[in-house]
């Protein structure tokens, strides 16, 4: 039975399975929402392109037609540039907020800690399960979008789409790790979600101003530089990943001392 025993040193398969099972509705509903959003893109492209010349100039819509230049750019503007990262942020918060705080609320944390699993592998396993859930939804729906677009006869650059989505996903890692950290500190999932949303809102502020845009995670998540300018934002993404690692490290230190 037990080559598995060595694996539990860093990672627990049985815990991982439980976490994924507990998140299954989040995955399913997330997929449904994203797939619906994905579906809207090829369908709306044609109609919006036709309608736009007919609509009088509306404030905020100036320059919009450049996003309609081709299907690729339209997809980007609707997907990575907007819906993916906005709805995805909410999903990342929802997936992350329950992970530790939820165990505290249901009082099962002590039960879990009484098992032969180290706190660090417990933490890592939950973290991985959350990321996997997010990944499934994000990449799954992106693949769906690609396939649907092709079926409907549009030309979509797979490579660009994938890389942009990867960039967006790195941003999600940041958001998820932040929420996970807060879930380790606060004891109620809802509070965790709200605090995380609040912090992210503050972090979004730099993105509203041209000068400080570089400081906003969301700006980078949208993969704008890559898509529009062809520059892969190495440095910003590295910074995001380092910050995420830092938050993970802080989270694990806090978790080591946590009383169930």
């Amino acid at each position: 039975m037990w080559p598995m025993w060595e694996v539990t040193m860093m990672f627990s398969i049985t815990l991982f399975k439980k976490e994924v099972r507990e998140s299954r509705w989040k995955i399913i509903i997330g997929l449904i929402i994203f797939i619906i959003t994905a579906v809207s893109i090829p369908f709306t492209f044609k109609y919006v392109k036709e309608l736009l010349p007919m609509i009088p100039e509306l404030p905020g819509l100036e320059g919009f037609d450049r996003y309609l230049a081709n299907y690729n750019i339209y997809t980007w503007s609707q997907w990575n540039g907007k819906n993916l990262y906005q709805v995805g942020t909410i999903l990342a918060i929802i997936v992350g907020m329950n992970l530790i705080a939820g165990e505290k609320v249901s009082k099962t944390l002590e039960f879990l800690l009484a098992r032969p699993i180290s706190r660090s592998s417990l933490y890592f396993t939950k973290f991985s399960a959350g990321l996997l859930s997010l990944g499934l939804v994000i990449f799954g729906s992106t693949v769906f979008l690609y396939i649907l677009s092709v079926i409907m006869g549009y030309e979509l650059l797979a490579g660009d789409l994938f890389i942009s989505t990867l960039i967006t996903f790195i941003g999600f890692i940041f958001i998820f790790t932040l929420t996970f950290l807060i879930s380790t500190v606060l004891d109620e999932p809802v509070k965790v979600g709200l605090l995380s949303a609040f912090v992210l809102l503050l972090l979004a502020i730099p993105g509203w101003f041209q000068k400080t845009r570089q400081l906003s995670v969301f700006h980078h998540m949208s993969a704008a530089e890559y898509f529009l300018e062809g520059k892969f934002p190495f440095l910003p993404l590295l910074a995001v990943l380092l910050l995420s690692a830092g938050m993970y490290y802080v989270g694990i230190r806090i978790f080591e001392k946590k009383q169930p």
């Binding site: 249901s106 009082k107 099962t108 098992r115 032969p116 180290s118 001392k257």
Partner: protein, 297 residues
């Protein structure tokens, strides 16, 4: 003597409140050890430290020879544990929870799980949230026994069970663990249960160990001698080793003995007396004597 559990000056402080205060506990391997104390005396905190769920503020502890701070993962692999209130995942069925727990342990006795879930008549396909408290305790016991642990740590395992189930519970613990070199360490308020099965007990109060001894020694040595002497005993009579307290009772005395009972009793009988009587102390009497007191109404 090989010790299954040993603590040396184990202390846990929460914001200057000492929940466990310099505890020196010794649990011999193969014994059934009762850990007794009033609510809030530090029993659960001690158990949590032994399991590595809580870290001690100072002091050391060893479980099955392993350090509770450095080797707590290995300790938990060898221990079966039942919490006072078994909070398990309510949304899972019994079967699912068993399968979940199984994945954590290097060894697991499927046969034992089957045997006892049938004996207890547990509806394993039902959600745990729908089980009665007694059934939850039974399920928790099965999960504690299944990894074939060398040490069973139980926190108030039988509270919440009816008298028949309690006997059944203890019986199963006796069958599976005792007599095979394994150890049982349990805290309980149900002193009659403790009296039946424990061979050693420890009394804890305010986080400190107040008394620890074998059950048989407690029963044979802890007595109160009621004596009405014909005249005052000579000075120094009451200083004999083993006498812990002397109270006047009308014309006579109540002599509380904790050791050297036979000697003291003989000495009392030799003194000219109107009455010498032995009052036995049961565990409840001892519990009140050693850990009662502060908050008596």
């Amino acid at each position: 003597m090989v010790l299954a559990v040993e603590t040396i000056n184990l202390t846990k402080e929460f914001n200057s409140f000492k929940a466990v205060d310099g505890l020196n506990l010794q649990v011999p391997e193969g014994s059934v050890f009762g850990f007794l104390g009033p609510n809030g005396s530090g029993k659960t905190t001690t158990i949590r430290m032994l399991l590595g769920i809580t870290k001690p503020t100072s002091g050391e502890g060893k479980v099955l020879g392993l350090d509770i701070v450095k080797d707590s993962l290995n300790i938990r692999a060898k221990i079966g544990y039942m919490a006072e209130v078994p909070e398990m995942y309510g949304y899972m069925t019994g079967e699912e929870l068993i399968r979940f727990c199984r994945g954590f342990y290097p060894s697991w006795e499927d046969g034992l799980v089957k045997k006892y879930s049938e004996l207890f008549n547990l509806p394993l396909k039902n959600k745990i949230s729908s089980l009665s408290k007694g059934m939850k305790s039974q399920l928790a016991l099965i999960i504690a026994l299944a990894p074939n642990p060398s040490l069973l740590i139980l926190d108030e395992p039988t509270s919440g069970l009816d008298p028949i189930k309690r006997v059944q519970f203890l019986n199963i613990i006796m069958k599976e663990i005792v007599g095979t070199g394994k150890t049982v360490f349990f805290s309980s308020h149900l002193l009659s249960d403790v009296e039946r099965v424990c061979d050693r007990v420890a009394f804890i109060k305010n986080g400190r160990l107040v008394k620890t001894d074998s059950m048989d020694k407690l029963k044979t040595q802890e007595k109160i001698i009621r004596a009405v002497f014909q005249k005052e005993p000579p000075p120094g009579f009451f200083e004999k080793p083993g006498i812990k307290k002397v109270q006047r009772e009308g014309n006579g005395y109540l002599i509380s003995v904790e050791d050297n009972f036979e000697e003291i009793f003989e000495a009392c009988k030799k003194m000219p007396n109107f009455l010498i009587e032995v009052i036995d102390q049961n565990l409840e009497d001892l519990f009140v004597a050693y850990v009662g007191g502060d908050n008596d109404v």
